[in-house]
Symmetry: C2
Subunit: 263 residues, 2 copies
């Protein structure tokens, strides 16, 4: 049971078997047996995969993975909540801050993103303030990565920063975003996570900003994308849900599964 | 092992034993035996307490608790990191965004706050954007509570909001904060979490804002408080570390344990 918790706490890290042997004072052979049981339970419970690497530099690695099926049934429940007409705000906006305020929901979305991107290698998860932040942290927890937060302003407590102006795709307004020089080592591989994507102007802005850090965007994940856009500024992204439309008159919201669930 | 994970995932919730019995198809007596083992391991490993409530409305509740000793040794390690002279920013500010970017560190701080406030009853955890957000979510995860985020601006995607002006205690600048009407039910009991506190103007602002919601502030937790203030606007709070001073000339930063560790 101690081993279980230790592994759940350290996803994507290679844990040498000698560490377990020392920590729990058991023989390597009994550790291997225990790992066999843990592997079965993790895979049976849908927690994820347990990879064992043989050899002197070997060990065990826990990779959080939610099955596509379990992810789908979870997202369908969220879609049902999102379609509640009381969410319609003036201007046809959709209120979803309550969903993004529940750690249990966020952690599950984080696990799904971590599953979607489990095979790619990243150095950091990146988001822009404000509503994407908890999603980025939830995802980063399951990928065991640090989070880099792009600011809308340039704060004195961040030290010297790189700022760029960008045009928000939907309302064509010029906005600024900035990232502390200290926050991101050069040539990092970055996973961008955000709560909502319309045309993708904000994400495109982050990509432009990342060029200043010689970084590579190796993945983009958004919780909800809007289908109500003429122009798509970015093509390669994973979405969990897609907002088809908000009809303020008939009080109807239409949300469907995102491209992560496409065949 | 399944039960362990189920409980770790649902802190502070009363889980009826019948739920376990149904879920894992075992007799209640063997569930009770398993819980005895889980209780021993949780308490031995420093994960927290396991309370069992007898009777028809009974069940089991996992309360995350880090011992004061373990918390102290963890915070002392962070203090050592905080005292690195490379953190000094122009103006004598202290760079600490990197520490607040690591999910493992955040989760541990969250567990410590959840331990500090385990006995009080809250409905929500509240913070103000930006840097307090991940700390608030980490704490909320271990208290199993939703998070309410106060915004510096008033966003159209939040619906109607209550805004107040407040004076930031340290630089006497007038600032605005706002909270969506939908975000917080009236008469909620609130735990305020923030990353840094100088005089406490921002926290005082949140308290004033909460009056508009007839809410009660039942606890305040800050990661680092500054000792370099003349006037303390709030008295009742828990701090994990205290910044004594930053000397830009001699390149020295002095940080000590916060009031949580006072005798």
């Amino acid at each position: 049971m101690e081993m279980t918790h230790f592994m759940l706490d350290r996803p994507h890290s290679l844990i040498p078997l000698t560490l377990f042997a020392e920590r729990y004072g058991s023989a390597k052979s009994s550790i291997s047996e225990d790992l066999g049981i843990i592997k079965e339970v993790f895979e049976g419970e849908g927690l994820g995969l347990v990879h064992t690497l043989a050899g002197a530099a070997g060990g065990v690695r826990y990779i959080p993975k939610v099955s596509l099926e379990a992810s789908k049934s979870f997202v369908l429940k969220l879609i049902h909540q999102l379609e509640n007409p009381e969410r319609i705000l003036p201007g046809g906006y959709l209120y979803m801050s309550d969903i993004l305020s529940e750690p249990r929901i966020l952690n599950e979305i984080g696990r799904i993103f971590a599953s979607a991107f489990a095979e790619r290698n990243f150095d950091v998860v990146m988001t822009v303030e404000t509503k994407g932040i908890p999603l980025a942290y939830a995802t980063a927890t399951y990928l065991n990565l640090p989070v880099v937060t792009v600011r809308r302003d340039n704060k004195v407590t961040e030290g010297s920063a790189v700022s760029i102006n960008y045009v928000s795709g939907s309302n064509k307004r010029i906005q600024t975003m900035s990232l502390s020089r200290r926050a991101l080592p050069e040539e990092s591989r970055v996973l961008i996570i955000d709560d909502f994507k319309r045309a993708g102007g904000t994400i495109q802005g982050m990509m432009d900003l990342l060029q200043e850090f010689k970084a590579t965007v190796a993945g983009v994940g958004v919780f909800v994308e809007s289908a109500e856009v003429e122009e798509h500024l970015i093509e390669d992204y994973v979405s969990l849900a897609r907002l088809r439309g908000v009809d303020s008159k008939s009080k109807q919201i239409s949300v469907e599964l995102g491209n992560y669930f496409d065949e």
